[in-house]
Amino acid sequence: MDDNRTLIEIRDLVKHFGSVIALSGVSLSVRRGEVMCLLGDNGAGKSTLIKTLAGVHKPTSGDFLVEGKPVSFASPRDALDAGIATVYQDLAMIPLMSVTRNFFMGREPVKGVWPFRRVDFDHCDEVTREEMHKIGIDVRDPHQAVGTLSGGERQCVAIARAVYFGAKVLILDEPTSALGVAQTSMVLKYIHQVRQKGLGVIFITHNVRHAYAVGDRFTVLNRGKTLGTYAKSDIQIDELQNLMAGGKELQAVSAELGGMV
């Protein structure tokens, strides 16, 4: 493996919440220009893992390296500054606010001297329109509320925002789970576009089909542990499905049902 290309690497990451062991030894890495799919059923620890990578939680133990250097994030802001941007399932978008205001939320460019310092909204509008144009979203007016966009469009705006603000690694938390077919393909296409730009993408999903469509490597998470990482060439879609559903249990169920599963 070419180590220069590794953006994030975690080894044996453990996270306890009191007596609950949410993660008990997770290892994964993501490289430049690849889509790493993190697969796991409900309760596998996906959310905890993302939140740890995003700086919301601190790991109990284990190594967390960004571009080869060990890091310890105190807040989501630290993770953002390190180039790790997370697009949450709930989107971090505010429906009542305009596309522009959402796009620059928390990172508004200002002009003028205090006390006359103000947000450079002309610049913001222009950038927003341009960025939306690039990803092929018809933003009729950057002042329109985000609530008027479709789910897929909103997801793409959230991703575009992270890319625009210089993310090196994108963590996408189930970006397609609430979307219809056309909108899913729109988001997957955009993920592919982001990969070509050289970013690393961690794509979290429990939909194997979506993962297989766009992923380069697949890490399967089960009960707080990584079952392994597989390159696309090494694994078939049904194997992946079996792994995700928790290997052993499925075999047991299969035996019980007379080898039907």
Partner: protein, 380 residues
Amino acid sequence: MVNTTQPTTDLSPPPTVKQIQDERLRDVSLVTKIMRRPELGALAGLILVAIFFASTADASMFTLAGIMNILSPAAQLGILAIAAALLMIGGEFDLSIGSMVAFTGLIFGAFLTLNSWPLLLAIVATFAVAALLGGLNGQIVIRSRLPSFIVTLAFLFILRGLSLVGLKWATGGSTQMRGIGDQAGEGLIRELFSGVAFEGVFAWLAANDLIGKFPNGTPTVTGVPVSIVWFVGFALLATWILLRTRAGNWIFAAGGDPNAARNSGVPVDRVKTALFMLTAFAAALVAVLTVLDAGSTDARRGFQKEFEAIIAAVIGGCLLTGGYGSAIGAFFGAIIFGMVSIGLTYTRFDSDWFQVFLGAMLLLAVLFNNFIRRKVTGER
């Protein structure tokens, strides 16, 4: 950026406004643009109310003196309403505003009469105490994660009670404190907070027969009451902050979805605390203005102003759920209040219709806002 020319059939956009046009950018109709302004309802309401009074009230209502009469109560309420609007957009309520006016009025009076502090020091100290109390309100709400409705309801009673107890203690049993005006003295600071402004302009206007004057040459209206100047200034400042600054964007974000805002790096807790401090600050400003004007303070000062301020903010387009609204809307909302409360005395209607009107206006505003919100977000 692609810069295409408008199709020749399109007559709507004004040629003076140069805009970068995306070739797929559909023109947003003027109606949609206007509908998107949260203060639309308040402005429409103000026009309706003005038409109503223009046709029913005595003509003297719309003279210069009449308008000053309307704007004076509107200004006091408006300063509170604008702060309440910002707080509501930020996703919180403050029901203690009215009691805060009484309480800060008391401590302002006490600083002047009991401590014999100079006016400037008394004002600064009053604002400091108010900001502290507002900050306390905010911190309790944020740390306990309780609804601000209930926390500030507690402070509504605590501060009103403290005002009563404190007044009796300070005056030896009375619920009114007199002699504040004499203690305040005269000077520049006093003139900033009481009396009228622009006297020179009005005198000049009168001298040139542009406004009414008494036979001896003094104008019938000697100037604009300073509270109105503060009201207009505060409305402009709040609007600028809300629409043009980073803090404004954070206020919308904090009220729209605090989690999403936090995830995007907005310091939501700091924004909310600052907003609670601002409402308390506005209450203190109203206290200083009204106490200096009257020369005394009493325990009923600011009574029920919290509700009126919230109503004015809602009429001004603020959603109860936060994240949407405008300061200029609250400005118009407060003027509607002033116009109706004063205007009824110019008509032959019983002025107690005011309360009926108030409730009806609130209900209409909420229904209208709800409709607009669905339009804006495309919710169905």
